[in-house]
C-alpha cells in the first residue's frame, strides 16, 4: 500500500521508517494514516495550542486526558469538553449529530464522571435554503434523539446562521459530568499484567477512516462519504454509562478510555503510551457484527458505544457479570505487558508491532506558513453609515429581533429534553445555563459563545472578545469562572491567510484567558471546514464553566419588576463592526471590533459579582448579540412588562442601541437598591437609561412597541 493513499505526507512516512528502522506493513500504515491524521494528531494546531494557559487553582486534571476536570467544591469535580462533529453532520445530519453527542458523552464518562448536561453549537447556512432546512432539521433531531434517550439534558447552546456555513454546517457538542475528586479516571494508571476488556457494542465496518475523512475538505458529492459516518445507538450508550459507573464505583477499573476516532487503536495505544506499558491485543477476540473483517478494519472501526477497560485479572469475573447485568458485550481482547510495544494479533499472526508512543505522539508538527490576508485592510476599512435606517429605533429593533440568529429558537430547544436528571435551574434560551449539583448544592454555570463575524474582521480581537463574552454572563449571574474548553473550527490550515486567521484567533483567546486567569482544560480542533473553495468563517467556539455556591441564588434575566430603574453598565460606544446589525441589516461585514481591555473586564467582573451577591438588581443580562437594544427587547418579553427608555441620544443612536462588544450589562434595579447599586458601580462607566413599567416598550423618539407585538415578532408568530 502506498503511504500517500493512507493519507501520510512524505516526511511523515520518513519519520515512521526512521523510528521503526524498517518499512511499516499495510496494517501499520493504515494505523498511522488514521492516527496521524489532523483529527487525531493535532499536527497543525499543536504549536498554537501551546499558547493556552492550562494551570490554575481550580484545575484538578488539565489538558492531556479526555476532558479536563475542575474543582466544584466539597470533594466534587466537573469534567467537561466540547468537540466538533462537523463533517459527519454535513454528510448525514441525523447520525452525524447524534454520534457527535454520543462521542462527547463517552469522553466525559472516560474521566469516571456521570454526564450531567450537554450544550450544542449549531452553525447553519442561509436560513431560507432547502439545504439548510434539511441539514438543520436533521442535526437538531440527531442531537435531541441521542441526548433525550441517553438521559443527559441539553440545557443550552448557540445557533448562528450565515451563508458561509451553507455547505459546511458546524455541530459542536459540549458535555459536562460530575466526578468525585478522588475517583477521577486516568489513562496513565495501567500496569503490566492487566487485562484489556472491550465493553459495549459489537464492532462492525461503520465509520472506518472517519478520522481521516474529518481531516480533509468535504468533497462535492457528500453522499459518497456516508459509509464513513458512524451510526449511533443511544440506548446502548445509556447502558454503557450505567455499567461503567457501576464498575468504577465497585473499584473494578484500573484505567478506562472511550472509543471514538480511530477505534480500538487510539485509546489502547494511548493508555499503553501514557502508562508506560506494552499491550498485546488479539483482534479475533473482539465481538464482531460483520464477517471476514480484516485486522486493520477491526483495529480502526469507529463503531459507536464502546469503552476500553483496563482491569486487574482478579476483577474479571465481576466485570463480566456486570456486562451480563447490563446486556452488553464484554470481552477480554488483550493484556498489558512490560515494555513499550503495541502489538496487534489475529489468527495467530502479528499484524502490527509498534512502539506505543509513536502511534499517538510521534506525528511531527507542521508549522504552516501564516500570511496576513491581503484583503484585510479592505475588510477593516469602515465608516458607519446610518443612512437607509429610519430614526425610529423601534423599527430596527423589530427587524433584528426577527432575524434568524436572534429570534426565538423554541423550534430547536423544544425538541431537547432539557430537564431530565432534575437539576436544570436555567435551561435553553438564556445567556447562561445553570445546573444544580445535588451532591453539594452548588450550581454549575455554563456559557457557550462564538463570534465568527468579529473573528473574520479581526481574528485576534474577535478571539479575545469571544472569550471575554463567554465569561461575562457567569459574572453577571454571580458565578466565578473555573475554566474553559474550546472547539476551534477553521478551514484548511494549508492556505497561509487562513492559517494566519487561525493563529491570530487562538492568540486572542489565549491572551484573554491569561488576562482573566481562566485555565483552558480541554479542547478540540476541526480544520478543513471548506468545500469547493468555499470556506467557513473563522469560528472558535468557547464554553466557559463557573460555579455558584449553594448559598447564593443566581441573578437571572427575565425578572423585571414594575418600577425598577434600568441601568446600562459599561461603555456606550461599542462596535458596529461584526455586529448583528451590520451583518444582518447592513449586509456587509467591515471594520474592526473593539480592542481588548483587560482592565475593563476585571473592573466589570468585580462589580458584577458584587451586584449579584448582594442582590442589588431584580434582573440582569450581559449585552450579547444585538447589543443593548436586543437586551432591552428580550428582557421586556421575558418579564412580560414594558419600559420607558429615556436618555440623551448620541450622534449615532443606532450605534448606542445595536453596537456590540465590551464588558457591558443591563440591570433592572429596585428603587430601594439604587444608592447601593450606584456605590458598587462607581469607578466604572454606567448610566441610568429608563424605567420598567407599562405594557409597551418605548424607545427614545420612536413609536412605542406593544409587548404583544414585540413578543410575536421575536417568536415569529
Amino acid at each position: 500500500m502506498d503511504y500517500q493513499k493512507a493519507g501520510l505526507r512524505p516526511h511523515e512516512y520518513e519519520t515512521i521508517r526512521r523510528e521503526l528502522g524498517r518499512d511499516p506493513n499495510e496494517t501499520e500504515l493504515r494505523i498511522f494514516g488514521v492516527m496521524w491524521s489532523e483529527h487525531c494528531s493535532y499536527k497543525s494546531s499543536r504549536p498554537l495550542l501551546k499558547l493556552f494557559p492550562k494551570e490554575g487553582p481550580s484545575v484538578l486534571k488539565g489538558v492531556g486526558e479526555n476532558a479536563g476536570v475542575v474543582d466544584a467544591g466539597e470533594g466534587w469535580g466537573l469534567a467537561f469538553k466540547v468537540e466538533s462533529h462537523n463533517h459527519p453532520s454535513a454528510v448525514e445530519p441525523y447520525q452525524g449529530a447524534a454520534t457527535g453527542v454520543g462521542g462527547i458523552i463517552r469522553d466525559i464518562l472516560a474521566m469516571g464522571a456521570r454526564p450531567i448536561a450537554s450544550l450544542d453549537g449549531l452553525f447553519f447556512g442561509r436560513p431560507d435554503s432547502a439545504k439548510t432546512r434539511f441539514l438543520s432539521n436533521g442535526i437538531v433531531k440527531g442531537v435531541g434523539g441521542y441526548g433525550n434517550c441517553v438521559g443527559v439534558p441539553t440545557v443550552g447552546g448557540k445557533t448562528l446562521y450565515d451563508e458561509r456555513y451553507e455547505d459546511n454546517p458546524l455541530l459542536n457538542a459540549f458535555c459536562i459530568g460530575l466526578v468525585a475528586s478522588d475517583s477521577i479516571v486516568s489513562s496513565q494508571t495501567a500496569e503490566p499484567g492487566n487485562l484489556v476488556v472491550l465493553l459495549g457494542s459489537k464492532t462492525g465496518r461503520d465509520g472506518i477512516g472517519g478520522a481521516a475523512f474529518a481531516s480533509a475538505e468535504l468533497g462535492e458529492d457528500t453522499k459518497a462519504s456516508r459509509p464513513q459516518v458512524q451510526i449511533g445507538d443511544p440506548f446502548v450508550e445509556k447502558l454503557l454509562i450505567e455499567a461503567c459507573l457501576e464498575a468504577l464505583e465497585k473499584g473494578l477499573v484500573t484505567s478506562m478510555q472511550d472509543m471514538g476516532a480511530a477505534g480500538i487503536t487510539s485509546p489502547a495505544s494511548e493508555i499503553a503510551a501514557k502508562s508506560g506499558v506494552g499491550m498485546i491485543l488479539d483482534l479475533d477476540r473482539v465481538p464482531l457484527r460483520e464477517e471476514n473483517m480484516a485486522a486493520w478494519e477491526i483495529a480502526l472501526s469507529e463503531s459507536q458505544e464502546r469503552m476500553l477497560l483496563i482491569i486487574r485479572p482478579e476483577n474479571l469475573d465481576a466485570v463480566l457479570s456486570l456486562g451480563q447485568k447490563w446486556d452488553l458485550d464484554c470481552a477480554v481482547i488483550g493484556k498489558t505487558v512490560e515494555g513499550n510495544r503495541f502489538i496487534l494479533r489475529k489468527d495467530g499472526k502479528i499484524f502490527a508491532d509498534l512502539p506505543a508512543s509513536l502511534i499517538g505522539g510521534g506525528c511531527p508538527e507542521i508549522n504552516w506558513p501564516a500570511e496576513r490576508p491581503k484583503d484585510l485592510d479592505l475588510r477593516q476599512s469602515f465608516e458607519f453609515d446610518p443612512s437607509g435606517f429610519s430614526a425610529d429605533l423601534s423599527k430596527t429593533l423589530l427587524s433584528l429581533l426577527a432575524s434568524p440568529s436572534l429570534k426565538e429558537k423554541t423550534w430547536i430547544t423544544r425538541q431537547y429534553d432539557s430537564m431530565v436528571q432534575v437539576n436544570t435551574v436555567q435551561g435553553p434560551g438564556a445567556p447562561l445555563s445553570l445546573v444544580r449539583i445535588k451532591e453539594n448544592g452548588n450550581l454549575v454555570a455554563i456559557v457557550m459563545e462564538a463570534l465568527p463575524w468579529s473573528c473574520s474582521l479581526d481574528p485576534y480581537r474577535g478571539g479575545y472578545e469571544t472569550m471575554a463574552r463567554s465569561l461575562r454572563p457567569l459574572w453577571v449571574a454571580g458565578a466565578m469562572h473555573l475554566g474553559m474548553t474550546n472547539c476551534l473550527n477553521f478551514p484548511s490550515p494549508e492556505n497561509p491567510e487562513q492559517f494566519w486567521e487561525f493563529s491570530e484567533a487562538v492568540r486572542g483567546l489565549a491572551d484573554c484567558c491569561k488576562d482573566l486567569s481562566c485555565p483552558v482544560v480541554s479542547g478540540n480542533v476541526s480544520l478543513y471546514n471548506e468545500s469547493a473553495g468555499r470556506a467557513i468563517l473563522p469560528t472558535p467556539l468557547v464554553c466557559s464553566v463557573g460555579i455558584l455556591p449553594a448559598s447564593n441564588f443566581p441573578l437571572l434575566p427575565g425578572k423585571w419588576k414594575e418600577g425598577d430603574l434600568l441601568f446600562l453598565a459599561g461603555i456606550e460606544n461599542a462596535s458596529i463592526p461584526g455586529s448583528h446589525f451590520q451583518s444582518v441589516l447592513q449586509g456587509r461585514l467591515a471594520g474592526r471590533p473593539l480592542p481588548p481591555s483587560p482592565e475593563m473586564e476585571t473592573g466589570f467582573m468585580e462589580r458584577a459579582l458584587q451586584t449579584a451577591r448582594q442582590r442589588l438588581a431584580s434582573s440582569a443580562v450581559p449585552l450579547l448579540g444585538g447589543g443593548l437594544g436586543i437586551a432591552i427587547g428580550k428582557e421586556a418579553i421575558a418579564s412580560g412588562v414594558g419600559a420607558q427608555i429615556e436618555l440623551e441620544l448620541p450622534t449615532h443612536p443606532l450605534a448606542l442601541f445595536f453596537a456590540e462588544g465590551g464588558a457591558r450589562a443591563l440591570y433592572a434595579v429596585p428603587a430601594a437598591k439604587v444608592p447601593e447599586f450606584i456605590r458598587t458601580w462607581t469607578g466604572f462607566p454606567f448610566r441610568m437609561i429608563g424605567k420598567v413599567g407599562g405594557d409597551s416598550l418605548c424607545l427614545p423618539h420612536s413609536e412605542p412597541i406593544p409587548l404583544q407585538i414585540l413578543s410575536n415578532v421575536w417568536k415569529g408568530a
Binding site: 440506548f235 446486556d327 430547544t413 425538541q415 430537564m419 431530565v420 432534575v422
Partner: protein, 234 residues
C-alpha cells in the same frame, strides 16, 4: 410506607423519581431491577419511571411490559397496591394492559419538551387527593409518543367512568383537546384504572417538585400518596 422504582434498561428518570420521593417527599424509595420477578417486601407504591425502556424498540413500552418485574406489578395492582407510570411508565402500563388505550406519536411528529398546564379532574384518587378538584398545576412534558388514543366508544366509557385524572388546560381553567400539545384525544394527560389505584400520566411530577427547578406543583402528588398510604385519605 415504601416505594419501589423499577429500573428498566434505558430508564432515565428512575434516579429523578427516587430523588423526588426519597429526598423531597420523604417517602422511603428504592430501585428495583427489571429482571427481578418479585417486588421488595412491603412495597406500597410501584413507580414505572420515564425514559426509553429497551430503547423504545418495537414500540414504546412494549418490551418492558413483558419483563419479569411487570408480572409482579400485575399481582400488586389487584391487591390494591398503588402503581404510578410516568411518561414511558404510562406507555408500559398501556402495553401491559393495566391501563386502557395507547400512546401514539405526537401530532407534530416531534419530540416535545415543555412546561404544561394541567387541570386536575379528580381529587378522590390516591394520587391527587391533596389537590382541590379543578386545580391547575404545571408539570413539564418530554416525549415523542404522548398522543393518548382510544377508539370513540371506549373513550366515552373512559370519560363516563371518570377515569381521566389530568387534562391539558389553559390558564383560564379550560381544558380539552384544544390544549393538547401533542394531539392527545380529549386533552388527556393522565388516567386511572377503574379501581383508581393505577395512574398513568405523560407529564413529569418529579420535575415539578422543587422551587429551585421552577415549580412545586408536583408535591401535591407525593403528598396525596403519603396521606393515602398513611391512612388519612382512604
Amino acid at each position: 410506607m415504601n416505594a419501589s422504582v423499577v429500573v428498566f434498561p434505558g430508564s432515565n428518570c428512575d434516579r429523578d423519581v427516587l430523588h423526588a420521593l426519597g429526598k423531597i417527599a420523604g417517602i422511603p424509595a428504592a430501585p428495583v431491577w427489571h429482571k427481578d420477578s418479585v417486588l421488595p417486601e412491603g412495597t406500597d407504591l410501584v413507580v414505572l419511571p420515564g425514559g426509553f425502556s429497551y430503547g423504545d424498540y418495537l414500540r414504546c413500552g412494549a418490551m418492558a411490559a413483558r419483563s419479569p418485574i411487570i408480572r409482579a406489578v400485575r399481582e400488586h395492582a389487584p391487591r390494591g397496591g398503588l402503581v404510578l407510570g410516568i411518561c414511558n411508565g404510562f406507555q408500559v402500563l398501556t402495553e401491559a394492559g393495566l391501563l386502557p388505550g395507547a400512546l401514539l406519536a405526537n401530532s407534530n411528529l416531534e419530540f416535545i419538551c415543555s412546561p404544561c398546564l394541567l387541570r386536575v379532574e379528580r381529587s378522590d384518587t390516591p394520587f391527587t387527593n391533596a389537590y382541590p378538584e379543578g386545580a391547575l398545576v404545571q408539570f413539564p412534558i418530554a416525549h415523542h409518543e404522548g398522543l393518548y388514543f382510544l377508539p370513540k366508544e371506549e373513550l366515552e366509557k373512559l370519560e363516563d367512568n371518570r377515569q381521566v385524572v389530568f387534562r391539558y388546560a389553559a390558564a383560564n381553567g379550560e381544558a380539552g383537546a384544544a390544549y393538547s400539545p401533542n394531539g392527545s384525544l380529549n386533552g388527556i394527560a393522565g388516567i386511572v384504572n377503574l379501581r383508581g389505584n393505577v395512574l398513568g400520566l405523560m407529564p413529569h411530577p418529579e420535575r415539578a417538585s422543587e422551587k429551585l427547578l421552577g415549580g412545586t406543583d408536583g408535591l401535591g402528588m407525593w403528598n396525596s400518596i403519603k396521606s393515602w398510604l398513611e391512612g388519612g385519605a382512604r
